[in-house]
Amino acid sequence: MWLNRDVISILDFNKEELLDLFSKAKLIESLKENNLKNLKGKILTTAFFEPSTRTRLSFQAAMLKLGGSTLDLGEPSISSLAKGENISDTIRMLDYYSDIIVIRHKLEGVSRYAAEICEHPVINAGEGTKEHPTQTMIDLYEVWKTFKSLENLTYAIIGDIKHARTISSLILSFSIFKPRKVYLVSPLELRAKEKIRSFMEFNGILYEELTTFSEVLEEADVFYVTRIQKERFSDPYEYEKVKGSYIITLEHIKRMKEGAIILHPLPRVDELSPKVDSSKNAAYFSQARGGLYLRMALLRAILTGE
């Protein structure tokens, strides 16, 4: 099911495969002592053409915990890419050294192309504005652990719906696990792109676009919070005006359902006040920790089939 698979888009996987992966991750998470060192001698290479320390470290940690080794392409500005080597040649070279390659790039289609030219499996660790399949697996894993199911839940997705690839990728997954309803909460300027809206309509995903989350606080099961960046606004004044509306505080938490959870792909800026961290609803640290196990399960499944 998983052996030698590429991970390019969440849409490359079905319900059965994802649930299987979550069970594997949970098993690894439940083992107190990690005796899964069966990736000895295997090399994972991270090639982050766009920097992201957390995601890179998470993959490297997962590989090391499984007994494997890691290589890193290094900063694009100081590697051979800066000297004008093209992406294709770089990727081919990495394929010779590695057993699995993890790629992040701001251009779209890079990982699909890499998978085409590489002999070894390729994992997309974030690409363009649309795809971030392993983050979505991590998000779904946390939701699955909490609710024991991924169907029929109500999501409030808050932040930069237009540009955040974590959001877009999560929305893609709603065609696999149907939610009850999805609220997309963002400033007008950062609403979902036409492509995403037509995707939801085509897949019969019930959604509603809002500019504040106040009216859905009592209703949502999952609050998916992301960062809103100042640079995304054409008018900085507009940013100053709206930024306060997308911050979750303890006051909001009081109105949430008993079992509701707050997720965040991290890093956060100020959209989640640190006071929220200790509340029962805050699941974003658990989500980040689960991310390590999920990525371990994924690497192990791809490299050994187990």
Binding site: I87, E108, G109
Partner: protein, 156 residues
């Protein structure tokens, strides 16, 4: 071709492209790169009555045989077209165009952020042909969509 459809004289040698959806003849002309400055005769018939399509367009080109590349591109804007190779006023060969499964290196991806639009990369754009009531192309790499109407703007 029935006599009724023959509004212009028969051609001696060349190609007749029949059963083009009404309104798409000019897209076919664009694909063929015909500007009107060529030294061969081109007849374009638009909105001709057709049993099969209701209305259709039709193009006759004297002294020109289509290349496979051109036939492939035409099949995307006119998936039901038939190609007649004319020799000595006779139909020497006749075949129906069939849109390919994928189209490689002929049309570029409409997404400016796509790897296939990056210069200096040895990568050919590859689009999947999604067949429906109208053809839609989908970039194999980034998933961008190109509608049938937009196709001629992205020919390489």
């Amino acid at each position: 071709m029935s006599e009724k459809e023959l509004r212009v004289t028969k051609i001696e040698n060349g190609t007749v492209i029949d059963h083009i959806p009404a309104g798409r003849a000019l897209d076919v002309i664009r694909i063929l790169g015909i500007t009107g400055k060529e030294n061969y005769t081109v007849a374009i018939l638009m909105n001709v009555e057709s049993k099969k399509l209701g209305k259709k367009d039709l193009i006759k080109i004297e002294n020109r045989v289509l290349e496979p590349r051109e036939a492939q591109l035409i099949s995307l804007v006119a998936p039901d077209a038939t190609l007649n190779v004319i020799s000595n006023f006779e139909v020497k060969e006749k075949y129906k165009l069939e849109p390919p499964e994928t189209i490689e290196g002929l049309i570029r991806c409409p997404n400016e952020l796509c790897i296939t639009n990056k210069q200096d990369e040895p990568i050919l754009p590859k689009l999947k042909v999604v067949k429906g009531s109208k053809i839609v192309l989908e970039c194999i790499y980034c998933g961008a969509i190109l509608t049938s109407e937009e196709i001629t703007r992205f020919i390489l």
